[in-house]
């Protein structure tokens, strides 16, 4: 479904990714693990068109994505939920969600989208009229995820959903992601910690200094304590 081949990228003179290759198959949940600042986020930004790679190719269902604009990549069905709280702070929760349905096709059925997201996150419905900046950290994360689900998503990319949240809230967020992917949606998720992703990943990539060091079956890799402590500390 998604195939990243030999992608290199960086910011100015600083090269961050050194020829990485990976893939996500249809219906699969893939997790990228690795410490902070080793290129995971950059790879996601390359996939969604925010960063132009210096080399390599990104293909989604056989179509080349490199050189396409972010809005075209969204149109292809790839939804990237970025790291941190990238919500629209001075807009209401409801308007934030509606922006997730910006594309014309999704906009027509935006009411259905709202119902779907509200069913998943009842809290967002309660707070529908509030400004997004008045939400708690966990609610904002749920808003960002809900916004991503308003369109017609086929591959969901989530960048470190646990970042900066309390343990109880992290559990809620991951439970929600698990619920979303249950009906066959493909998932590419980035995290720093192996603990959060146990039981939800099919395959795992371990990333260090802009390269993949290991790739494999989730049950195997996540069970290997020695390996994980080497890479993740």
């Amino acid at each position: 479904m998604l195939r990243v081949s030999d992608v290199s990228a960086g910011y100015g003179a600083a090269q961050v990714l050194h020829g990485v290759s990976m893939h996500v198959d249809a219906g699969e949940s893939v997790v990228l693990l690795g410490p902070n600042g080793h290129g995971k986020t950059t790879l996601l930004r390359v996939i969604s068109g925010l960063v132009r790679p210096s080399g390599g190719s990104v293909q989604f269902e056989g179509e080349e994505l490199v050189g396409r604009k972010p809005e075209e990549i969204v149109a292809a069905g790839i939804v990237h939920i970025p790291q941190g709280d990238l919500v629209f702070p001075m807009m209401t929760v409801r308007d934030n969600l509606l922006m997730g349905a910006y594309r014309r096709g999704a906009w027509k059925v935006r009411k259905d989208g709202l119902d779907r997201v509200y069913a998943l996150f009842p809290r967002l419905q309660e707070r529908g009229g509030q400004l997004a900046r008045s939400l708690s950290g966990g609610e904002r994360r749920m808003l960002a995820i809900g916004r991503g689900l308003m369109g017609d998503v086929r591959l969901l990319i989530v960048d470190e959903p646990s970042l900066g949240l309390a343990p109880q809230v992290i559990e809620d967020v991951y439970a929600a992601i698990k619920a979303i992917t249950r009906d066959g949606l493909s998932l590419l998720l980035v995290d720093e910690s192996a603990n959060h992703v146990e039981g939800m990943a099919d395959r795992v990539y371990l990333m260090e200094t802009g390269e993949f060091r290991r790739e494999g079956n989730a049950a195997e890799l996540l069970g290997d304590e020695a390996l994980l402590s080497t890479y993740l500390g």
């Binding site: 604009k69 972010p70 922006m99 991503g148």
Partner: protein, 292 residues
């Protein structure tokens, strides 16, 4: 009493026009993070286009105003394509961009000077005449200016609050990356914002120059006042800008009525300095950078 009411009415008229100009400045600031100092030159250009259509070519006022809006929108798009786009996202954008708009403004004013000469022209009113109630003079032109501005400001507000594209404009001004990631075509948003802002400024020029005067540099003072309005309203907040426009318009009218016209600019400057000391983010601004 008559003088007081006359001042209130004058304030509402001025406030309407400042509102038209200032929302444009605010929209551009909010979404592109650009201080557009060519806004005053576009205002004057709108005035001259309307003047040419009405006086030289004999078209009706409606055509003249529509023509002024179209021509200024085109100017805004050219400004975007030729000056803004090549610099967008490059290092030094913060300063280089507004300095470039000063240059554009100089070029535009000089072109108007060459084309029309330096003399001050009187733009005819769209509707001549006035009526008097309780010693307060209501010129039809002033009523027209006020009504058109209020209708456009309300429409703009509704557009930004409820429509798909209006919401997208606000989204871009608040979180650029997130906007890209939900599929908003950011380049198109910039283009529309430049066009709409410029057309509102051009319309303000077409309408106000029949009350004030028309000359190649006549846009500077209205722009300065619109800038004060924009800062007072909380840079980037459309609602704040509209409220601020009427406050500033009323303040100016009162100063003119009771202290003399000479005091109007100094009074506005004193006022904005005081505001910035007490509430630097303006009326409806938030301390963060994204506000629209």
């Amino acid at each position: 009493m008559g003088q007081l009411l006359q001042a209130v009415w004058g304030g509402l008229v001025f406030g309407s026009v400042y509102g038209l100009m200032a929302v444009g400045l605010t929209l551009i600031w909010g979404s592109l993070n650009l201080l557009n100092l060519a806004h005053g030159a576009i205002y004057v250009a709108g005035g001259y286009v309307a003047y040419t259509l009405m006086v030289s070519l004999g078209f009706s006022a409606v055509f003249a105003f529509a023509g002024a809006m179209l021509a200024s929108a085109a100017l805004g798009l050219v400004l975007y394509a030729v000056v803004v786009l090549p610099m967008l996202g490059k290092p030094g954008w913060d300063n280089a961009s507004w300095i470039a708009t000063v240059a554009v403004s100089l070029v535009l004013e000089s072109a108007l000077l060459l084309a029309y000469g330096p003399e001050v022209r009187a733009m005819p009113a769209a509707i001549e005449g006035a009526f008097v109630v309780n010693d307060v003079v209501f010129r039809y032109q002033a009523i027209l200016v006020c009504a058109v501005a209020v209708v456009l400001l309300v429409l703009l507000h509704l557009f930004l609050k409820t429509s798909r594209f209006g919401l997208a404009i606000r989204a871009v001004s608040q979180q650029m990356d997130a906007s890209r990631l939900v599929g908003i075509p950011v380049a198109l948003v910039f283009l529309i914002v430049m066009g709409v802002s410029a057309s509102l400024s051009g319309l303000a020029g077409a309408m106000l120059t029949s009350i004030l005067a028309l000359s190649p540099t006549a846009g500077f003072v209205p722009m300065l006042k619109a800038l004060i309005v924009t800062i007072f309203g909380g840079l980037g907040s459309v609602k704040g800008t509209i409220v601020a426009a009427y406050v500033i318009g009323l303040l100016e009218a009162f100063v003119q009525a009771f202290a003399g016209v000479a005091w109007s600019l100094p009074a506005l400057f004193l006022f904005i300095i005081a505001v910035l000391l007490v509430r630097p983010q303006g009326l409806f601004g938030t301390p963060e950078l994204q506000r629209l």
